[in-house]
């Protein structure tokens, strides 16, 4: 009697038992006869053969193959629908020594994720994509995929896929091979054992091309889904072989593995200390590091609103930068809400001696309204007892509140006097400093010198700042009670 040795058994890179819910720890979650199980096995065998298990990161999709991490004893990341190639890109770039293999169904890759796969392939990312094409959305119960065959009845094409309404089956491998970057693209099938063995070869070649650092590789696997196709496993296998492979021609679509040059090792990232120079930032240390924490109790919740072009956002930025220099915790939140479209803009600024919990200012204790619609919109949200600065000669009667300190000044006209109405926002800043003393003048000047680009503008803004202070002081003297 001859002695026997094991030639085929469960791959080593797969777990012995699967930590799934309940007692199903000895079976995959796939339906009987599902192609995902076979493809998974081929991939696992490849990983074992190449001895790369400790370097592999599997990226699993949304779809029936979502649970690869139950099976592969490798690195695993499960990602949002369609995004596997984007996440794989990040993983590979962050860890160039890893072997990153993304696995996606046809709904995942060819529908919601079509942009990600196209651009990852076109960039020639050093990743391997296994594309299980079963021409249907399996997990969600059988909706049409871009790959669904013409005439096929699905839950979303109850009369059959119609080329006029629904378009044609999408040939991903052919699209991939129309791009310059990919080094290996092949379509294989699981229609019988011969096809399965060819699939194994292609998967191995694709992964190997990544191990050699050659470039992007993709293997499209025509894969049976007996459950949704409503066929028994043997019929479904025949359908792959006889019908699907007819619409989706099998074979290699691109193989440059013989003459492709390995990608050069990625250039080392610049040291953190070099970043300021690269980004052309001023040499002085970051103000937040430099300024000691400010001991005074401060909680300014500032809302600034006006027309686009009035410098609303810059005013907020100046306050935040100066606050930072003063040792405060700050936030600056420009708001790009729907109001952008009607030409208005606003921002929220918080200055606090403690960490800022939320950058959103709902109830302001300083409201700067640079036009009437802004005053109308936000005055009702001002906290009782708080401050309002309004750009105008006087506060319109319908928006006056007795419980607020409200000042009106024509900031932009004042700015015009010092050279240009564009500096109106800085006149506001001057007035605000005068009435609140919220930040030291020198600190504001330093921040302004940093934020404002160009000597000429800095000159104008310095004038505008003092014009604002003056005007506010005069106005305070005139109406000692501060109520307008």
């Amino acid at each position: 009697m001859p002695e026997l040795k094991v030639t085929h058994q469960k791959a080593e890179c797969l777990y012995d038992s699967y930590e799934r819910k309940g007692e199903l720890t000895h079976q995959t979650h796939y339906c009987p006869g599902c192609g995902h199980g076979i493809t998974m096995k081929l991939l696992a065998e490849t990983i074992d053969e190449l001895g790369i298990r400790d370097r592999v990161i599997m990226v699993s999709p949304v779809g029936c193959s979502v649970f690869l991490y139950y099976y592969f004893d490798t690195g695993n990341v499960q990602v949002a629908h369609g995004r596997a190639p984007a996440v794989a890109t990040g993983l590979k770039r962050a860890r160039p020594d890893s072997i990153v293999i993304s696995y996606q169904g046809d709904g995942d890759l060819a529908a919601i994720g079509s942009a990600e796969i196209l651009h990852a392939a076109n960039r020639g990312e050093l990743i391997t994509c296994i594309f299980a094409n079963n021409a249907i959305y399996g997990m969600t119960g059988g909706q049409m995929a871009p790959t669904t065959l013409l005439g096929k009845k699905t839950t979303t094409t109850p009369f059959g896929r119609d080329k006029i309404k629904d378009g044609y089956p999408l040939h991903i491998s052919e699209v991939m091979s129309s791009l310059d970057a990919p080094v290996f693209v092949e379509r294989v099938a699981l229609g019988n054992t011969k096809q399965i063995l060819a699939a194994k070869k292609a998967i191995r070649k694709a992964v190997e091309s990544q191990v050699k650092g050659l470039g992007f590789s993709l293997v499209e696997v025509l894969s049976p889904c007996p459950t949704i196709w409503k066929q028994d496993p043997v019929e479904a296998q025949r359908f792959v072989r006889e019908v699907m492979a007819d619409i989706y021609p099998l074979g290699n679509k691109r193989d440059r593995t013989a003459d492709a040059e390995p990608h050069p090792a990625p250039a080392p990232e610049p040291a953190l200390s070099e970043l300021p120079a690269i980004l052309k930032l001023p040499k002085e240390p970051a103000p937040a590091d430099a300024a000691p924490p400010n001991p005074r109790e401060v909680d300014y919740r500032i809302k600034i609103a006006g027309f686009g072009g009035q410098g609303v956002l810059l005013l907020g930025q100046l306050l935040a930068e100066a606050g930072m220099d003063d040792g405060l915790a700050v936030s600056w939140l420009p708001s790009y809400g729907p109001e952008m479209r009607s030409g208005t803009s606003n921002c929220h600024v918080r200055l606090n001696n403690r960490p800022v919990d939320s950058p959103v200012v709902t109830r302001s204790n300083i409201l700067i309204a640079l036009n009437e619609p802004s005053l109308q919109k936000f005055v009702s949200l001002a906290e009782p007892g708080s401050l309002v600065l309004y750009n105008g000669d006087s506060i319109p009667a319908e928006f006056r509140r007795e419980d607020l300190t409200m000042h009106a000044l024509p900031f932009f006209e004042l700015a015009d006097e010092v050279g240009t109405a564009k500096a109106g926002n800085v006149v506001v800043l001057g007035a605000l400093l005068e009435v609140t003393g919220l930040l030291p003048d020198e600190t504001v000047d330093r921040a302004m010198a940093r934020v404002v680009k160009g000597e000429k503008w800095l000159e104008i803004d310095r004038k505008a700042l003092s014009r604002g202070k003056q005007a506010m002081a005069a106005s305070l003297g005139k109406e000692a009670a501060c109520h307008v």
Binding site: P2, P32, L42, N192
Partner: protein, 79 residues
């Protein structure tokens, strides 16, 4: 531990009945026609694949046809 084949067969297979889902793809794949689905149900309610007990040549085709990673183990005669 080496397993000894029945008679002079060149191969042998073991089915792990708890990992098998009774899909029948291995039965279809076997050129020697030495596999069948059992009349019994396994723990999960499937009719698992069963080896006839002789005639396997250890070709491994059933292994590649099978979607379950751990259902089949193939042995082959040494030399």
């Amino acid at each position: 531990m080496p397993v000894t084949a029945m008679r002079e067969d060149r191969g042998f297979i073991e089915v792990n009945a708890q990992e098998c889902k009774g899909c029948g793809l291995c039965v279809e794949a076997c050129v020697q026609k030495v596999l069948h689905l059992s009349a019994h149900l396994n723990h999960y309610g499937y009719h698992p694949a069963e080896y006839d007990g002789r005639g396997c040549n250890g070709c491994g085709l059933c292994f590649y046809a099978c979607p379950e990673p751990g259902a089949l183990k193939i042995f082959k005669a040494v030399a």
